[in-house]
Point group: C2
Chain length 190, copies 2
């Protein structure tokens, strides 16, 4: 998606450890009109698949999930990372290792809101190693919900998550795939 790639090229900053900061428009400050355009791209690809829910993980997936869900006219369902007093006990749980935060955590989804009659589109802002996405897939399997596909804003193509998910048979639509990046600021797209 050219619009997204040009924003990454203009505003993205590369830091040691394969960190790409795009917090001016994607996951701290959020450009809603760009989100809306990205949500529309996912809609055009998956609109004929009978999607019932857009799923993501808090927090930075919520914006793109909301923008995508508007186009589909279906609810968002976001997995929770923290154990709130309020989530209750009747939940699907999966373990995820975070690269960004360097720790393992559990994600939970209430059994009330996901089941065998659901067909979901999984979305997230980033795909790198793919741990978070595999946690969502695990939860969908527990719920016996069907997965129509995976929509990603920025895939780090030099890490294994995207390849692994495609080998598992999932249709992964990444709006920008980064082939390589270096700390001098050079970002090459696939």
């Amino acid at each position: 998606m050219e619009l997204l790639e040009s924003r990454i090229a203009e505003e993205g900053r590369v830091y040691p450890g394969n960190v790409l900061k795009v917090d001016s428009f994607l996951n701290h400050q959020v450009d809603i009109s760009l989100m809306d355009r990205m949500g529309e791209e996912f809609y055009q690809r998956f609109k004929d698949q009978g999607i019932t829910k857009i799923m993501t993980i808090e927090s930075s997936g919520i914006s793109i999930a909301c923008s995508t869900a508007r186009h589909f006219g279906v609810p968002v369902l976001f997995a929770k990372k923290s154990k709130s007093l309020n989530i209750g006990k009747d939940v699907f749980v999966s373990k995820v290792t975070s690269f960004t935060y360097q720790k393992e955590y559990e994600i939970t989804v209430s059994k009330r809101y996901l089941g065998p009659s659901d067909k979901v589109l999984l979305v997230d802002d980033f795909l790198a190693i793919g741990h978070a996405m595999k946690g969502l897939i695990d939860i969908c399997k527990q719920a016996e919900a069907k997965i129509a596909g995976i929509g990603i804003c920025i895939e780090k193509g030099f890490q294994q998550g995207g390849e692994e998910l495609r080998k598992m048979g999932y249709e992964v639509m990444s709006l920008a795939v980064i082939e390589s990046m270096s700390e001098d600021g050079t970002i090459t797209f696939r």
Copy 2:
């Protein structure tokens, strides 16, 4: 807002410790069309105030912030709760005590995205004791950003946050104010 009140009355569940669960439409599963209508309410009230940013705290404020920002045509800026490797050092920080999660945490906002030329609308899904909102206010003060007002989906009117913020001089617009609620499921609106 009648639409919101009727959803709370129909789907809200009351649990011990003043917990109101509305996770079927507000903060786990998210009804985007309702979010859109709520965002429009905030827009109608604050549209003439020169708002430059819609601010909230991750995670459950992000949905309403995005829906509101669409109407205003301005970016969202959400304060981060966790210390990510990616946030960097040049940040405003404030301490917040969470009632829901029973712990103290820091919220951070990058200095790149908030400053004296900003006029912000602060939004959140819930207002109860008001700690999170006071953290956002503190950060706006550090940044010398102006606060146009505060938009809340559900205010727990029997807790002190709303009253305190109004006494501090802020215009607080709550779309539903709960006067009282009891564990038999009775919810009374102000």
